[in-house]
């Protein structure tokens, strides 16, 4: 493994965007930061700024009011970048499916790399999803 790939895999910085979820998955994401799960072990840092992020972590379904924001954030992230969708409603629309203002899954707006299903997704599953995304990140996509 060369240095760059190794470093990319070891230092994924997250941007967490809530696209209109019920907040169930967001709470699980925050749980990952706690001492119990401590995702910083893997070098993962929650950045809150697209310009610094490698992984876009989206919860909630894509919808009319804010798909534009989602796209904007995605565009502001420098390559290589991957998108991880957390929760069923982000994957397909989930419980919000067919609601009037809902577009569907996040992949209706931006390309998605990893889907983490579950309503809500467990912290273990979220970490798993992020680690899966690292494989893609490593090779620079």
């Amino acid at each position: 493994m060369n240095w760059i790939a190794r470093s990319r895999a070891k230092s994924p910085w997250l941007l967490h965007y809530d696209c209109g979820s019920c907040n169930g998955c967001d709470i699980e994401i925050l749980a990952c930061l706690t001492p119990l799960y401590d995702i910083e072990r893997f070098g993962i840092v929650n950045m809150g700024n697209p310009k610094h992020a490698d992984i876009l972590l989206v919860t909630g379904p894509a919808n009319h009011p804010n798909y534009r924001v989602l796209k904007n954030l995605y565009e502001q992230m420098p390559e290589p970048k991957v998108v991880v969708v957390v929760g069923s409603c982000g994957c397909t629309g989930g419980v919000f499916h067919n609601c009037p203002n809902i577009l569907g899954g996040i992949d209706k707006v931006i390309p998605v790399d990893v889907y983490v299903p579950g309503c809500a997704a467990k912290p273990e599953a979220i970490i798993d999803g992020v680690v899966l995304a690292l494989e893609k990140l490593k090779n620079g996509k």
């Binding site: 965007y17 700024n49 009011p65 534009r68 924001v69 565009e75 502001q76």
Partner: protein
């Protein structure tokens, strides 16, 4: 040869001024201004390369008589101004204080000259004394002053066009502008204190006339304020003359300085009073701030090469005489306080010219502080500050003038993102500010020397001075950088920079000045060796060596040129690296709510577009003029009072 050069430096501007006054034709007047600028620059450089210094020169006796008469005429004119205003507008502080101060001056001077003085007029051998300090001042006055006058040619055309004046007043404007340079040369050459006093009052007159040039009520008010505040200095001058003559029997400045005795302190304190009114030190800063109503070339002239520099020149000139006394320590405290107070007040100002004005006051305070510390290193710092401050401040005023004529505003907030609209002049302005603000430029080398000298001073008051120094210099950084920040704040764009059209009369002087600031900072070693070192060496033992072009004092060492290499590398290397392909450009982060990547707008409630509004920090509530100004004035007055008490006791 030298005699004629001195004559040209002092008399030619007066003559050229009168010619300007009579010329009604713009082109012809511009020609005269241009010609006199070239003559003055050539004279000063020739003088520098030809003369052997120090030298004394006494012109024929008639000149003494002429100055004697002109002096009273000048005072009569001031009196007329005061009375005229009195009869038109009734009792006001401005006319009452003008009349009062002129009367005090005239009566005491007349009493002195007609009753006590042994001869009429009092003569001094030599009447003019020129050493390297005078020479440095002369170079500054002639070169920078002339550049400002050249800039004024186009500026005043645009200014009058903007005001929509029917009848031009430019002949008066250039009359005073050019004459100012002559009077300043007179001040720095004079050895006879009476001559010095005369030229001193001429600069007051020029300053007054130039400030009220636009004749708006505000301009008239400011003009009068400048007049009467400077007349306080004039009174100080007269008292100093009388006291000095009483105890010494001579009015030769050099004799007084070279034979310091304790009796001398009181006249020196009064001379210092004159110096600090001229240099607009707190609590007399009001006139310089008011002077901002004048057209930009006037401000540039007042702040860089003339007027206020006369005050600090006098302070540095008389510094050897109070070496090691308590007066010296108090002067340092006074200068330090002004340095700090003005820098703090500058933070809360949003008008460009007022920021520049406070910065000037602050820097003059620093020079006076150095004169007060009074060690060779401190005097070195003072003289270098005079040089570099004159260049950078003249430059900045001219730049702001040009910007003002493009955006018709002097407010810093209106200059947001100007680097995109007017890249050339904004770039030069930023460079000028950086030359005031960052090492390794000349001003910072001087500041470095000042801090080290203050640290090394043996005075018991030195911790106080140090406190003023560090707070003042931190505040200086804040107000400059936040202004630069407003200039730089630009919106992402894929378009390249488009330079504004080059206008020779506007851009040449500023380019020459910024070039001068950079080159002289790089060549700090030769500048020191040729100019500063001999100027300090007239009265002090110099302690600075410039081996391998490092600026090395006994207690420290400033390596300037390696830092310039770093600076060059920091500018050149990235321009090779940095690629800006349009597809790389992204919007600024606004939580994903940007409207377009290249507009400063975001969407908020109901997806409406909102303009992004940013502003600088001004800390109006904490550091505003309203809150601090009066306290600063009171403290400064107390320091001044203590200064006089210390001298009397």
């Amino acid at each position: 040869m030298t005699a004629s050069l001195i004559g040209i430096a002092i008399l030619f501007p007066f003559a050229a001024g009168f010619v300007c006054l009579t010329l009604k034709n713009h082109k012809a007047r511009a020609g005269v201004v241009f010609l006199s600028a070239i003559v003055l620059i050539a004279t000063s450089i020739l003088f520098f390369s030809q003369g052997t210094f120090p030298l004394g020169y006494t012109p024929s006796h008639e000149w003494d008589m002429a100055i004697f008469v002109l002096d009273y005429l000048l005072m009569a004119y001031f009196l007329y101004l005061g009375l005229n205003d009195f009869f038109r507008n009734g009792i006001k502080i401005r006319n009452v204080s003008t009349i009062g101060l002129v009367l005090v001056q005239a009566i005491s001077l007349a009493l002195f000259e007609f009753s006590w003085a042994p001869e009429l007029p009092i003569t001094v051998e030599p009447a003019l004394f020129i050493d390297h300090l005078s020479l440095i001042m002369c170079l500054i006055i002639c070169i920078i002053g002339s550049l400002i006058c050249i800039y004024g040619i186009k500026y005043m055309q645009d200014h009058e066009k903007h005001l929509g004046l029917e009848k031009t007043k430019q002949n008066w404007f250039f009359f005073y502008m050019v004459m100012f340079l002559g009077a300043m040369n007179g001040i720095v050459f004079a050895n006879n204190i009476l001559w010095l006093y005369f030229f001193w009052e001429v600069t007051t007159l020029c300053c007054y006339a130039l400030i009220r040039h636009d004749e708006t009520p505000e301009a008239i008010e400011s003009g009068f304020r400048a007049l009467w505040m400077n007349l306080i200095g004039g009174v100080g001058f007269v008292v100093a003359i009388i006291l000095a003559f009483n105890s010494y029997g001579t009015l030769s400045l050099i004799t007084l300085i070279s034979n310091p005795t304790p009796f001398l302190l009181l006249p020196l304190a009064f001379l210092f009073l004159a110096a600090l009114t001229k240099s607009a030190q707190v609590p007399f800063q009001g006139w310089l701030l008011g002077a901002m109503v004048a057209p930009v070339p006037v401000s540039a002239l007042l702040h860089s090469s003339t007027m206020v520099k006369a005050g600090v020149y006098l302070a540095v000139r008389i510094a050897p005489a109070f070496w090691g006394t308590s007066l010296s320590a108090m002067i340092a405290v006074f200068g330090g306080f002004t340095f700090m107070a003005a820098a703090i007040l500058a933070i809360s100002q949003s008008e460009a010219k007022r920021v520049l004005a406070y910065s000037t006051i602050s820097n003059l305070g620093l020079i006076i502080l150095c004169a007060g510390i009074n060690t060779p290193l401190a005097i070195t710092a003072a003289i270098m500050l005079i040089i570099f401050h004159a260049i950078s401040k003249g430059l900045l005023f001219l730049c702001v003038g040009n910007i003002e004529h493009n955006i018709w505003s002097k407010n810093i907030e209106d200059m947001q993102g100007l680097v995109r609209r007017l890249p050339l002049i904004t770039g030069i302005t930023i460079a000028g500010m950086i030359s005031m603000l960052l090492a390794p430029f000349g001003v910072l080398i001087s500041k470095w020397a000042a801090i080290e000298a203050a640290g090394a001073s043996a005075s018991l008051l030195s911790p106080l001075i140090l406190l003023f120094l560090v707070i003042g210099s931190a505040a200086t950084t804040v107000f400059w950088v936040k202004w630069i920040g407003r200039f730089l704040s630009e919106v992402p764009s894929t378009e390249g920079l488009k330079m504004e059209p080059f206008s020779p009369l506007y851009h040449t002087p500023v380019m020459l000045l910024i070039g001068g600031a950079v080159v002289l900072s790089i060549l700090i070693a030769p500048v020191y060796n040729w100019l500063v070192s001999p100027a300090v060496g007239t009265f002090y033992l110099t302690t600075v060596s410039t081996q391998s072009w490092f600026f090395r004092s006994a207690i420290g060492c400033f390596v300037a040129w390696p830092l310039f290499i770093v600076l060059a590398a920091a500018l050149v290397v990235p321009s090779l690296f940095v690629k800006t392909k349009p597809e790389r450009i992204r919007a600024a982060y606004m939580c994903g709510e940007n409207v377009e990547y290249d507009t400063p707008q975001f969407r908020s409630v109901a997806d409406d577009k909102f303009e992004l509004q940013l502003g600088g920090v001004y800390l109006e509530e904490d550091l505003g003029e309203k809150k601090l100004d009066k306290w600063f004035k009171v403290i400064a007055l107390i320091i001044l009072l203590v200064l006089f008490v210390v001298v009397l006791v």
